[in-house]
Symmetry: D2
Subunit: 140 residues, 4 copies
């Protein structure tokens, strides 16, 4: 089961070419990730300012099919996938609500680390549950 | 009757001090303005890319009472006010949902201009209706 | 003696109206503040992530005279001013380099606090020196 | 010959984890692209608001090796590469100045289109010259 986030495109998301600035679509995907964490009862304030464990993004990519304009309504379907005991990946399908057409796809890859030593660490339990909840994986 | 916009604080809104970056709160107020326009059936794409008339912000100010953190839910109460035949002002009260406390207040002032000559122009009819709808003004 | 920061306007600073998005000008003023701190040998990483003392912005205001476009070169003249033993204010004059005309003015007000209790604290010594360096004040 | 852009990391580039927010590094790479265009005498205002031809980004990817902090100085080495008569790619190497270590790499892919029909168009002459100038390609 994937998680779905709905969002309006705002004026500040756009640039002087009249469409959404490319890097802002990745930031909107990250909002979808945050909403999916909150939907799994993860406290975002504690999660993102944790002094021990961090789960930084080590890779991101995005492909654009159609431009997005101010006022457009989008849906983001998000599916996380377990990679290793330290890492996971999230796939995002960005859909324009009025046409139901795919307008962009993105991927982010996250690695769990000890914040001081920056060495790899096992994914915390609450994130494993979140992975279980929103991915189609049978077992982890 | 004021317009109310609800918003979650996202990770990208924050900075390395762990709280929302000051200028981002003004951008979030602008989202509230856009939602209030959409609620009055104004087409945001056409409105913000209009080649004839523009209504730029000529002044903005903000006062911060309490910091905002990632994951916080806020309400923004927005009240527009007619100033002259060319200009209006919007007041924003930013409330933290969990405490119902005021955390910031902001003001933006907008002047209607001809986009080419940049000379002042009368406020368009659809914006007058929006002002009527969301302000407490008796007559304009 | 004021501090001067030079900056090019980038594509991401603009919006679908073709000019710089209003709140981004305040963010660019903050860059000028950061460069003035660095010019007084203040370590920005330590300064902005300090766990004991924080100097949040409690008020900001901005007035726009002319629009700014992608590729424009601007100068920001920054002058800090001592307010009380806990607070200071910075005035920014934003000048378009090619015309030497004032295009915007802004003010930010900063209050020094204890990060845990959020009670007011005396301005740290290095910030007093920075105030001395870049303001016209005779004595503080 | 690659183009080099130097940049300080600012407070607004960071997030509550204390490091640069992932999508902002792509935006900083785009600044490097803009500076390389300006260095080839391309007028950025006209280029990015052209009503006939647009060269949107159709793909972007980024890999992070080390985190970046407020106040860090970075160098971005940018190398464009001709792909087809309608498209080119830019590779970015992001280097931390104090250690001379690679901290991230990124790629953006750009396709030239007719802005109205959104059909593919040949890369304009000034962009071909820019490609010649900053790429290592022998012939195009």
């Amino acid at each position: 089961m994937s998680f779905t986030y709905t969002r309006t495109i705002y004026f500040q998301d756009t640039d002087a070419a009249g469409v959404v600035y490319f890097a802002n679509v990745l930031a909107i995907c990250h909002e979808a990730y945050e909403e999916s964490l909150a939907a799994s009862s993860i406290n975002l304030k504690l999660f993102f300012s944790n002094q021990d464990v961090a789960i930084p993004i080590v890779h991101a990519s995005i492909d654009f099919i159609k431009p997005l304009f101010c006022g457009d309504k989008i849906l983001i379907h998000l599916s996380p996938k377990y990679l290793t005991e330290h890492s996971f990946e999230i796939a995002y399908n960005i859909i324009l609500a009025q046409t139901e057409k795919l307008v962009a796809t993105a991927i982010t890859k996250h690695v769990c680390i000890d914040k001081m030593s920056r060495s790899r660490k096992e994914i915390p339990g609450e994130i494993k549950q979140w992975l279980h909840h929103w991915s189609d994986a049978v077992a982890m």
